[in-house]
Symmetry: C2
Subunit: 346 residues, 2 copies
DNA sequence: CTGAAAGCGCTTACAG
DNA sequence: CTGAAAGCGCTTACAG
């Protein structure tokens, strides 16, 4: 008379359920569902049909606890909402899914403590591997990873301690090309809105910037090299300080496209036109993935290639296909993409 | 004489290890590490120190398998590299982390099969809940979620079947404001580059577009309403078709900012200037988070608010704080942000 | 080709 | 305040 039967307990079916319904043991059911060869075709079919019928979904928790593999990885970046990282995350997730890995995403906001927590979370979830763009500063965040032996690959940046796998862009070349391009156009006072020097790519882009100046015989003006304290917070403070100090400059090289756009935005608000009065070069070539109606000259680093490379290396580590002593230090080429935000000095 | 001792097995320490080293049982160790009240302060201290010393990291797999909670959630969107979704994902991850939840990210590329797999992955990983922007088309993807009883909240879109929680934007109002703004400026032929009608927000923005025309007494021209087959692939095909057909229009309303930018890009390539010759309105106000040097008139939907709201509802469901019969149908307000991509018709 | 047993590392419920 | 036992749902290794 009552509705008892309608309110099912909503308990997910388990191997045990299938075992009871088919008359086999959980062992056989498990093997049948994994298409093992040593199960008769008939049994396999029977069990798979029943699983299908019940809408069986394997419990990865239990499976992982026993097998030691979770088919899970973590991507740790400063901020997924930055298109550069968003694109990388997408590429990694796509590659991961092809290999039946599921991806955790964790942000660090360039904060060491948040990074430490992120790594801790990933480890407690027993990820099989981690792809991480280390937060700025030379902390000891990676030490815990090494202690646990969890495979990990740095992406986009490397640390002083080179005994880790990494995939980076050729940042020195990128910085060089950006500055050389501006110098070629006749610019002599090139404001460099750089990231903090604790970030390897910032140091290397600066080295390239310097080399271009040297080769052109143009002295570098230290007051035109500005570091932003945190790339997630933008560069308008630094840019305004330079404008307020009335330091002369005819071009800007920004650490990334986000800052380049911010620079153009601020300059335009100040009545300065780009590229007529000020030339601007960015880094990342985000426009390769998004149509932005402002054609920005920028340095292109292949985010797809970098991400896939990092994933491949991680797979090799996870599957023990790489010698313990060997370190992967991949440097992906950068190229200059000249669009319309740069112009010869008048 | 040999190096045996140096090559430690790299096995992560477990409760059992701490138990053996301190002389307590795993039970007591477990409770001490969780700061349970019924453990003496001295014991707790001793155990916590030992855990610290060993660098103990709890095995969430084991914990979850027993407790039934994973402190894990999945965010399923069409494409994290779209800034709109990237921002949402960031907001959700940030909120989640505050509550000690770790976030899986899964892309659907607007593809039903990829979506089905994504949901399957999330379920097999035993996530406590899912926030999902359903892929276009009215499939049965959510049925499996309902069967398993895993809490989930739709974000950004809802389905025909309204018996699910959702948090959306006021898309009808947004579409209305965009079209009304253009009509006010004197535009009469407003090309609407919309998403596919199987997406609720596309239908509702169109309804708003129509209402604005009705109120202004301007007939809607069906040939100016174009749907793109897949928002991830952009709108240039549709735009070019309209241009090639030489259909007259003086303004464009794009389904989202990405398409608005793409539209401006294509128009500029064709020698048409925005806003001088063609006005353009977008949707999403991505510029609230990124400095883009092209001031786009757009409809703002609060991505932060929407994301946090969805997360809150999910938490309520997970913690059983919401009546089973009740459905959350939140509509977050939209506003028009007038910038410089729109102008009165000459 | 299939089964019986052990165990992954925790938490739960109960005993004392 | 602490312990002994059971069990979460799988996979592994071995037996037959």
């Amino acid at each position: 008379m009552d509705d008892k039967d309608e309110r099912q307990p909503l308990r997910a079916p388990t191997l045990k359920d299938i075992a009871e319904l088919t008359g086999f043991t959980v062992n056989t059911v498990s093997r049948a569902l994994k298409n093992k060869e040593d199960i008769s075709a008939a049994t396999r079919q029977l069990i798979q049909n029943k699983a299908q019928e019940l809408g069986y979904i394997g419990n990865a928790l239990a499976s992982s606890l026993r097998s030691g593999r979770t088919k899970t990885l973590a991507v740790i970046v400063s901020d997924v909402s930055n298109p550069h990282f968003a694109i990388s995350v997408k590429e990694i997730e796509t590659a991961a899914r092809k290999h039946e890995y599921t991806t955790f995403i964790l942000n660090t906001y360039e904060d060491r403590e948040a990074e430490r927590q992120a790594i801790q979370s990933a480890l407690s979830k027993n990820v099989d591997g981690i792809i991480i763009c280390p937060a700025q500063g030379e902390g000891a965040s990676m030490d815990v990873l090494r202690r646990t032996g969890t495979p990990f690959v740095l992406i986009g940046r490397h640390l002083q301690d080179d005994a880790m796998d990494y995939v980076i862009s050729d940042d020195e070349k990128g910085g060089y090309m950006a500055a050389a391009h501006l110098l070629d156009l006749g610019h002599r006072e090139i404001l460099f809105l750089n990231a903090h020097r604790s970030i390897s790519s910032a140091r290397e882009r600066l080295a390239g910037y310097r080399r271009a100046h040297e080769e052109a015989g143009v002295p570098v003006r230290p007051e035109l090299i500005r570091e932003v304290p945190n790339i997630e917070r933008g560069c308008r403070g630094e840019l305004k300080a330079v404008l307020d100090a009335k330091l002369p400059f005819t071009a800007v090289f920004a650490f990334n496209d986000m800052m380049a756009w911010e620079t153009i935005y601020v300059l335009q608000r100040q009545g300065l036109r780009v590229p007529e009065q000020i030339s601007v070069v960015g880094f990342d070539n985000i426009q390769s993935r998004m149509f932005i109606p402002f054609p920005l000259t920028t340095v292109s680093n292949s985010k797809g290639k970098t991400s896939r490379k990092a994933f491949e290396i991680l797979m090799k580590r996870i599957h023990g296909q790489a010698a313990d002593g060997h370190r992967f230090h991949e440097v992906v080429d950068t190229t200059l993409v000249v669009r319309e935000s740069t112009r010869p000095i008048r």
